[in-house]
């Protein structure tokens, strides 16, 4: 669709306008102006100390994301193929998916202590379940007609899995990865809010505590742009795989 790009531009412009209006109504004590925020974001990106925070968050997020995706797909595939195991595990996984993970944070701290491993663990428990649930659903949702087609064509089990099952399930698995990655980032950042001495989340909470309004806004903006970019990238890959014209 041709108009998508224009729609996006209008949306961004509208948001900036609302932002500016809010600033004019609420004042600099609450939020910073769009332009000042952009400038501060630029300064932060030029600051070496801020890049240490980015590196710390990036490592935790990357590791947590990989664990959530690999583990989630592995468990999801297994539960998808083993219908009985899937039926048994399904209510547990859905419960774990839906409870607010923040209630598990004290437990995570007890188990992993402060620092990197707790951040990673908190990221993983956010991202793991959506990937698992979507993968399980993807395998179960592969149309039975595909199995029959494979058998009529006398394909081996391996060929059926590799050339029919995997591509048929992939778009839905990718949808799970998209949500999983977004939630992993959320989990990692929340992990940094508390009991952490480095990372973008830590920088954000410290800026809030010292009432550095422009810093809070700038870091939030950078996180927003990053999350939206990751989402857009995964969305793009997903669309390419769906072939919806």
């Amino acid at each position: 669709m041709k108009s998508t790009r224009l729609d996006t531009a209008i949306l961004v412009f509208g948001l900036l306008l609302v932002w500016q209006l809010l600033y004019m109504v609420a004042g600099a004590n609450v939020i910073s102006a769009p332009l000042a925020t952009l400038i501060r974001a630029g300064q932060l990106l030029a600051d070496e100390r801020f890049w240490l925070h980015i590196k710390s968050t990036g490592e935790a997020f990357g590791l947590a994301g990989i664990i959530a995706i690999v583990l989630g797909i592995a468990v999801g595939l297994w539960l998808g193929f083993r219908r009985f195991a899937g039926d048994v595990a399904d209510p547990f996984i859905n419960t774990l998916y839906s409870i607010p993970k923040i209630t598990l944070y004290p437990l995570i701290l007890l188990a992993f202590g402060l620092g990197m491993s707790a951040k990673v663990a908190f990221g993983v428990i956010h991202g793991l379940f959506p990937v698992t649930i979507f993968t399980m659903g993807a395998v179960r949702n592969v149309a039975p007609i595909y199995y029959r087609t494979a058998r009529i064509m006398r394909l081996t089990d391996f060929a059926t899995l590799a050339t029919i099952m995997a591509p048929a399930a992939l778009p839905e698995i990718l949808a799970g990865i998209r949500i999983g990655v977004a939630l992993t980032l959320l989990g990692t950042l929340i992990g940094e809010f508390f009991a952490s001495t480095s990372g973008v989340g830590f920088a954000l909470i410290r800026a809030s505590e010292t009432h550095a309004v422009t810093d809070v806004m700038a870091i939030t903006l950078l996180l927003f742009v990053f999350a939206a970019s990751v989402n857009a990238l995964l969305n793009f890959i997903q669309r390419r795989l769906r072939h919806n014209g």
Partner: protein, 267 residues
């Protein structure tokens, strides 16, 4: 149609499905005896739930009969699909992640056919099914009828000697169905394949078939087999032939009571 050279031979074939949670077994089909000659176009009609699809599954080897023997080329059909059988079902089985060309080439690639031969056969099948202009399109961009053509082409390139069709045009509108019927007849003549077609459309059966087997309500048995005596070179225009009306009348006469019975039993 003599039974000189039986391509498919069913002897007292029956199928039951085991009951669950204390329910009794479901007797789905049979016992059925049937001989289909090599190169014959045989259709099966019957009330819904009479076991037509089960019959096709047994012939294809997808699901073995509970009792009786099923022979393909004189050899028993076991629990696996013998070589030389192609099948197209009612549900769309086109692979959404492949374009039309790759969909049609799929089976050939899995069976290690040489690239030149694949190219030759796929292009031939695409031309035959009127899909040449859509070679690069994905199934999502095609209509239901076109997707079904893709599935037929994908089966054709494997050059099956027996083609099993389970209501392949069931989801299509009437005009498309008649035209697809013409294509099916052309395909049947040119490939010399044996075709067994399951259909709920009596006109389709009357127009396409050499013989039509009429099944009873569940457990399905053949209550009659009608020979149409159509010339091998025929097309959908025979619907205006007076013999067409006679065949339709005969089919409905046989089926009316069975359909009522199956309707009353709530299946």
């Amino acid at each position: 149609m003599g039974n000189v050279d039986s391509h498919i031979s069913l002897h007292a074939v029956a199928k039951s499905f085991p009951g669950h949670d204390g329910h009794p077994d479901t007797h789905a089909l049979g016992p059925v005896d049937l001989d289909v000659a090599r190169g014959e176009f045989f259709s099966v009609v019957g009330p819904s739930g009479c076991g037509k699809s089960t019959l096709l599954e047994m012939i294809s080897g997808l699901s073995p009969p509970t009792t009786g023997t099923a022979l393909f080329n004189g050899k028993p059909i076991g629990g696996s699909v013998p070589a030389g059988i192609g099948a197209v079902f009612q549900q769309d089985a086109s692979f959404f992640w492949l374009n039309v060309w790759d969909n049609v080439a799929f089976g050939l690639r899995r069976h290690g056919i040489a690239a030149d031969e694949i190219k030759h056969r796929v292009n031939q099948a695409l031309a035959f099914m009127g899909l040449r202009a859509f070679a690069n399109a994905y199934p999502a961009q095609l209509s239901g009828g076109m997707r079904q053509r893709v599935c037929i082409a994908r089966t054709l390139v494997l050059r099956p000697e027996l083609l099993l069709l389970d209501e392949p045009f069931g989801a299509l509108d009437q005009q498309t169905r008649l035209l697809m019927g013409d294509e099916l007849l052309r395909l049947w003549r040119e490939t010399n394949a044996t075709i067994i077609l399951i259909t709920h459309a009596l006109d389709e059966a009357a127009m396409l078939s050499d013989r039509i087997g009429i099944m009873s309500a569940r457990p399905g048995r053949f209550i009659d087999i009608i020979t149409t005596n159509w010339a091998r070179d025929r097309d959908s225009r025979i619907v205006s032939d007076e013999r067409f009306g006679a065949i339709m009348g005969k089919l409905w006469e046989c089926l009316r009571e069975e359909s009522l019975r199956s309707l009353k039993s709530g299946s």
